[in-house]
Symmetry: C2
Subunit: 211 residues, 2 copies
Amino acid sequence: MDNKGILIVVSGFSGSGKGTLMKVLLDAYDNYALSISATTRQPRAGEVEGVHYFYRSNEEFEKMIAKDELIEYARYVNNYYGTPRDYVEEQLNSGKDVILEIEIQGALKVKKKYPETLLLFVTPPDAATLERRLVGRGTETPEVIRSRMLRAAQEADGMDAYDYLIINDDIEACRDEVHRIIQSEHHRCSRNVEFMDQIKAELKANLKGEL
Amino acid sequence: MDNKGILIVVSGFSGSGKGTLMKVLLDAYDNYALSISATTRQPRAGEVEGVHYFYRSNEEFEKMIAKDELIEYARYVNNYYGTPRDYVEEQLNSGKDVILEIEIQGALKVKKKYPETLLLFVTPPDAATLERRLVGRGTETPEVIRSRMLRAAQEADGMDAYDYLIINDDIEACRDEVHRIIQSEHHRCSRNVEFMDQIKAELKANLKGEL
């Protein structure tokens, strides 16, 4: 099979558990690299520069846009979020599957630019579970929870544009499911053009003059 | 997740081992049903009516065509081969994944008629392995082997139209790979419209009047 990494976009409702899911996936399997986004939003408690995000000023971010150093970027709640290109391409070329954890707006931009991108949408099994998880965090005000539920209802309309639906009920089962889905994608014909060209050439060489 | 079976077409070069692969897949997992084709060709030694094929006369076969009782049919080496519709639809509705083992001409017709069909192409790792397997069977004349290699070279041009490439090197590893690929496909957004509609409706009901 061809040895190219797959660019993967993971999105999902706030409260879907996609952050934890990505963490356990990367802990369990060594063939993934998580892309680190750049953002203009303030770090939350415990977040570290270069680990969770690259924190940039508005001016710095707009310079990156102008130099085409981002494969996608979007504004969300008055802040910029974007994906620096260099790191992603480096990892893909080395055969790693690179995961971007971005929201739907950015996901669709990446898919348009790189049609071979794999889009995964993480969702809890139902809306009640989503609300329970947001409340359970204990870090958000009721207004923020309400606004996230409102946003989820809007984002749900975009689910259809994704390739796979990841129903996050049991985190470990879900982690292994995501792994199987991504590894299965490596067998897509469209991702194995080199292998196919090779066997076509061999078959034709074998029968030279008869075709 | 939605509980509909997936219609799967498996094709591959003669000598790719696809027949054995399907046999071990059905032996190992109980969520698959193999479609039985109708054909006008003569039974080979050991083949049984209703197990390997439904053997039909030319007149009978053409009556099935006229009554639209086949989801696809094709002529190959002067014989008809086709897939009776009833059995396939029955199995899909019961949640089974139904496998059609047909050649490329029929595969493309099925995909056109049922775009949600999953097309798998089985290939040995290289052309030399293919020829070795055909010779190793010991049941074919050199002329037949040559004609199968010629046909393989022609069929190879159609590989790109398939969804997944199944490289049959180790039969058991390959069997499990096929199982993972098919089961991953059950997570496709396009195959889970009911689930998505459900969670969208829940999220909207929850926020009635705010959207």
